[in-house]
């Protein structure tokens, strides 16, 4: 017993010390992929644009951690607050990949795009096609597929990225948050992630729609409040073909059933100068394609409920006739919005509603016949839009106060 013990111990000690030496050896020399957070440049936003000479320009927004740290209004805070919390670096190259890599020439540390939250795309690049950018995103394991995408209209991407935010230390986060909130509660803009665009680009019967940001007023010190995220850009495949206005975007969101709440206003039936506003919820949108004699007909059905949000005049709005009247008017407005969105889409030959995809999934044989000239068929297809509206609540009051 004892004998055995002694022998084992010797063997084990030598084994253990050998493995320990190997471990320490590797921990000192190895570590190929070991890079500390302080040795990488976190990237929060990437802008991609095409220069006039046809090369790709990539701009990174790199936050400086010590300045973005929240809740530390400490000693150096007052002095630092004048400094920008993010720095912008851009670089040009024949391809996006080369442009990204050549960025290293201008940076002290390695780039780390895994945490990028926003991808800004220039108008010229969008017209030429997004394939390259998205391929890079898909291929690179370090990229973030849930980053939001924004198209910059009528200005260089870099200019938008220079805008400063007063609410967020990192401007791109301001934009990202505003897109999400907007889609949920207002509907003038939609949310698009890289992965969504990737899927849509590849789908034969669906084209991507990307939200648009534009500069409202040119200023020396551009702020985020001076730029506006509103409307969206329709693509055919990966190429930009045209823009949808804010209301058209809302029409699209209604049909796609992606909106949670939105606000409408219409002139009061009693007094044309006064307005009544509504908050509409729970829109239940459905899309269908009906075949009439082998020709597709595009059908959109929307069910909406709503509250009365505000009235500028004190009529009792809860009377049944009154409600009916109001509901009809809202119905008209919504139908108009959806219709104009659909019309624009047909005008651009861009199937942003994914009707082709619906045919493809539900009726693959039919799709085989029409898929080659689907854009043409889509743009000429007859449409039908049905909207049902129901007003349910009126807030705390039935009737506004009558000022004397």
């Amino acid at each position: 017993m004892m004998l055995d013990l002694g022998k084992n111990s010797l063997k084990n000690i030598s084994l253990r010390s050998a493995s320990l030496i190997i471990l320490v050896f590797f921990s000192l020399t190895g570590c190929w992929d070991n890079k500390d957070v302080t040795e990488i440049n976190l990237i929060t936003a990437v802008g991609v644009d095409k220069t006039t000479d046809g090369r790709v320009e990539v701009t990174f927004e790199i936050p400086r951690p010590s300045l973005t740290r929240t809740g530390q209004a400490g000693a150096g805070g007052g002095e630092n607050s004048r400094e920008k919390a993010v720095s912008l670096v851009s670089s040009k190259g024949d391809t996006a990949f080369i442009a990204v890599r050549s960025m290293v020439e201008k940076l002290a540390k390695d780039i780390f795009p895994s945490k990028m939250e926003l991808l800004l795309i220039g108008e010229d690049l969008a017209r030429a096609g997004l394939q390259e950018v998205f391929d890079l995103m898909e291929r690179d394991p370090e990229s973030n597929m849930t980053a939001k995408v924004l198209l910059v209209k009528g200005a260089p991407v870099k200019q938008v990225m220079e805008a400063e935010s007063e609410q967020e230390k990192i401007p791109s986060l301001h934009l990202v948050k505003s897109i999400t909130v907007n889609q949920d509660t207002f509907g003038s803009s939609k949310e698009a992630r890289v992965i969504d665009i990737l899927r849509e680009v590849a789908l034969p019967g669906k084209d991507p729609l990307i939200p648009v940001v534009e500069i409202l007023e040119e200023k020396e010190n551009l702020k985020v409040k001076n730029i506006l995220v509103s409307g969206s850009a329709a693509f055919r495949g990966d190429k930009l073909v045209g823009y949808l206005t804010a209301t058209e975007t809302r029409g699209w969101l209604l049909a796609e059933n992606k909106i949670k709440a939105s606000v409408y206003s219409l002139p009061s039936p009693n007094d044309e100068t006064k307005n009544i506003s509504f908050e509409m919820y729970c829109e239940n949108g459905q899309k269908k394609v009906e075949f009439i004699e082998g020709k597709p007909k595009l059908v959109i059905k929307i069910k909406a409920t709503g509250d009365i949000g505000e009235s500028q005049e004190p009529t009792d709005l809860t009377q049944p006739q009154m409600l009916k009247k109001l509901e009809n008017k809202i119905k008209q407005i919504i139908t108009e919005e959806v219709n104009s969105a659909l019309n624009s889409a047909q005008k651009y030959h861009s199937d942003i509603f994914g009707f082709g995809d619906i045919i493809h999934r539900k009726n693959p044989q039919e799709w085989q016949k029409i898929k080659d000239n689907w854009p043409e068929i889509f743009s000429k297809a007859p449409t039908e839009i049905t909207v049902e509206v129901k007003l349910k609540r009126s807030g705390y009051t039935r009737k506004g106060v009558e000022p004397l």
């Binding site: 995809d357 999934r361 539900k362 693959p364």
Partner: protein, 355 residues
Amino acid sequence: MMTNVKISGYQLALLIMGFLFGSTAVLNPTAMAGQDAWLAYILAWVGGFMLIWLYVRIALINPSLTLVEILKVTFGKYLGTVIALLYIWYFLHLAALVLRDFGEHMNVTVFYRTPMTFIISCFALLIAYCLRKGLEVTGRAAEILMPYLFIFVIIIFFLLIPEYDTNNLFPFLEKGLTPVIQVAFGVLTFPFGETVTFLMIFPALYSPGQLKKVSFAAFGVMGFIILGIIVRDLLSLGPDLLTRLVFPPSLSTELTPELQLEPLISVNFLLGGWVKITVCLYAALVGIAQLLGLNDYKHLVLPLVLLAVGLAMWLYEDLFKMMDWTANVYPYYAFPLQFGIPLLILLVAKIRKLA
């Protein structure tokens, strides 16, 4: 020594589950079937049940004999030895294949600059340690470690629910049944048919009466989990992305809100791969030891592991070659070993019984 090793039914079930999970859940062999991946998988799963039934029958006819011994009994000393050598090569090849998959996956996802040899060697070291300690310890360690694998799979499955789009399941059978069956054949050989390895391990089961129940239960549970993984990838990525990606789960897990849980996929691969490689190398070692008439395989562990690492580096020049080969050549190479010879063994046994 080898005949004395005993594992419980639960441990065997966990080993089969880990073996099936292995590299399957990361490579997703059904991806080529696009939106019909689930169908191809279910077809293969049913086929897998038939294969395991075959293996269990063989094991029950020859209780307490391993595959190598069965081969010798069935085909005589010389032919049996030749076929046994073929199987030993296959087990070794399988282990090397999984090692290489593991290395490639790590190189592509997180460890871009770490040399693959280093990653593979570290893994091989772990497996050598495990093999030295024997199958009983492996079974017990599986009891502790496999729950992690299940927990990680479930976490990822539920976190991805917001990404699921049932439209991705349609159009059903767009290109007809032929491509689906082709993919199903591939999935049948990888991973289901590879369980032929367990013919070397079945004799170690403590109570042979449980064999059928245990292996079917393991096939049922792990088959269901892999189905969940395939449906998860299909629903969250869509057929188009699924067919294009090298490692689909790595991308789908990136979609989890706030966190990017990609490392969990690597860890799952590690756990599954650990079981798979250990079982494969154990089978090869026991086979060699039995052919040579030794009563302990443990001395041969280190050189064989070294050989497996060498093979892993040698087998394929690059990722493209490997993917092409596993998709197009592997099924035809493995199927005779997984189905042909076992069927022959069963037939010979039946005929002998009649005679």
